[in-house]
């Protein structure tokens, strides 16, 4: 018997992806990325002058990510302003993106990335990473490759891809697990691997195989959106 998901998707099926580049005219680079009802927008500003001066690094530019949920993005109004959660996710996105960036060309400067979630239905950080990676490319920042991100979940004993909020709150059996993953496109290198819940160590490998396949689908959408903005 095959596992039935709440919204009728197959276990390795992503929600509908929407990706668009160049959505914010005032930014140097911008992008939108959506997994179904989760919508993330990202704007890149810079390289620009970094203040306070003591944070400047004479060897490279630094990356500064700010992630947050918009107050209207969730069912209960989210109190605006930074929170413990949003600061942690900002740092985490920074670490997920940094390995592909080559910022040595711009010493003493900062590249600001603003990631905002306009609509949340689980998987906001993965959508945020995808949008941020596209926005950085759009801003012309030198990078090795794009970053693709997707969440793998476990419903009881079944591994599924790209959880919704309803699935994240799954009850029964072993309960839900959520494993957000980010990887460098076209490689086997992962830049993010988090685990919320539990999973037997030997099944991690299985989850990564699933993630690999889903990330390739994400990568194709990212490429398509970037080429579209250039009119090709």
């Amino acid at each position: 018997m095959t596992f039935k998901r709440k919204d009728g998707r197959k276990v390795d099926e992503l929600r509908e992806i929407k990706a668009k580049v160049g959505i914010i005219p005032n930014a140097d680079g911008s992008a939108m990325f959506a997994f179904g009802d989760t919508i993330a927008i990202a704007a890149v500003y810079g390289p620009r002058l970094l203040h306070p001066q003591h944070m400047q690094n004479p060897e490279t530019a630094i990356l500064r990510v700010n992630y947050d949920l918009m107050s209207f993005s969730v069912d209960d109004r989210k109190r605006p302003g930074p929170s413990r959660r949003s600061q942690e996710i900002s740092k985490m996105i920074e670490h997920a993106l940094m390995p592909v960036l080559d910022l040595k060309e711009f010493p003493n400067t900062v590249i600001d990335v603003q990631v905002y979630i306009t609509q949340a239905d689980a998987g906001t950080r993965t959508a945020g990473i995808n949008a941020a990676s596209m926005a950085l490319a759009h801003a012309g920042i030198p990078m090795r490759s794009l970053i693709c991100s997707v969440a793998i979940g476990k419903q009881d004993e079944e591994l599924v891809v790209d959880l919704t909020k309803a699935e994240e709150d799954f009850e029964g059996g072993e309960g839900p697990s959520d494993i957000p993953v980010a990887k460098i496109a076209d490689t086997d290198q992962f830049t993010l691997l988090q685990l919320d819940g539990k999973i037997p160590p030997q099944r991690i490998k299985e989850a990564l195989v699933l993630a690999n396949k889903a990330c390739n689908e994400v990568y194709e959408e990212q490429k398509k959106a970037l080429k579209e903005v250039a009119g090709q």
């Binding site: 140097d28 680079g29 810079g46 759009h138 012309g140 030198p142 990078m143 496109a185 490429k223 250039a230």
Partner: protein, 240 residues
């Protein structure tokens, strides 16, 4: 006199060969990490790297194959200054030996008093350039300490009257056209003086405000439609 000098500033910009009209060059949009070509025959230039047997894009842009050399031209993003770029900047500070200017980049640029075409008394510096004044200048050096400007060449100097607006810095080569053909056409038809800085700042001064607005509209049109086919014809049509 001043006006004639300014319109000649384009001579310095002609090195920026127009993007999409030249022949016999293969072009395609690439994404960071995308393989542009494989084989030992190719040489990676700006925006591209060699990984093993392949030439890979290291930024988003237009990959161009010119003979054996492959480079990726920026089509989006912020202005990155290069040596010999002609830029338009605004004075933000006056120091004892020069002026500090904002040129729309992370670090400010410096115009030393020695790089002025004539002698200026250090006690009367603000009479030549004061805070808020706008100039056309050439980047003559980029070093660790910052960007150094010069206004010694022909066509450079203070901008008086007219108005300034901004376009995307990556669309500047298209607006200027091959050897200044596009902007030359606009200048001729609208009777305006136009100077375009590589940082995307455009200065226009015409005889009437109608002509100035027309010139601005056309420049903005070009800037928004860089990749459209037959752009030159469309601009000609708008001008006539």
């Amino acid at each position: 006199m001043m006006e004639r000098k300014l319109s000649e500033a384009h001579e310095a910009q002609e090195q920026n060969v127009e993007l999409s009209e030249s022949v016999q060059k293969k072009r395609k949009i690439v994404v960071p990490g995308e393989i542009i070509a494989s084989g030992e025959d190719y040489l990676p230039s700006e925006g591209a790297r060699r990984i093993g047997n392949e030439i890979v894009a290291s930024r988003f842009g237009l990959a161009e194959e010119a003979g054996r050399v492959i480079k990726v031209i920026a089509i989006t993003g912020a202005f990155i200054p290069r040596r010999n770029n002609v830029v338009i900047g605004r004075v933000t500070n006056v120091t004892f030996n020069g002026w500090v200017l904002d040129i729309d980049y992370a670090s400010s640029a410096f115009l030393p008093i020695e790089e002025c075409p004539h002698f200026i008394n250090k006690s009367e510096m603000t009479q030549f350039l004061d805070i808020g004044d706008t100039i056309v200048a050439k980047i003559w050096a980029i070093n660790k300490r910052g960007i150094d400007l010069s206004i010694k060449s022909r066509g450079l100097g203070k901008l008086e009257h007219g108005f300034i607006f901004r376009i995307g810095p990556n669309t500047v080569p298209r607006v200027i056209g091959r050897e200044g053909s596009m902007v030359g056409m606009i200048k001729e038809k609208t009777q305006c003086n136009i100077t375009i800085g590589q940082n995307g700042w455009v200065w226009i001064k015409g005889n009437t405000s109608e002509e100035e607005i027309k010139a601005r509209k056309i420049i903005e049109f070009i800037s928004e439609n860089v990749s459209v086919d037959g752009l030159t014809e469309k601009v000609e049509e708008m001008l006539s």
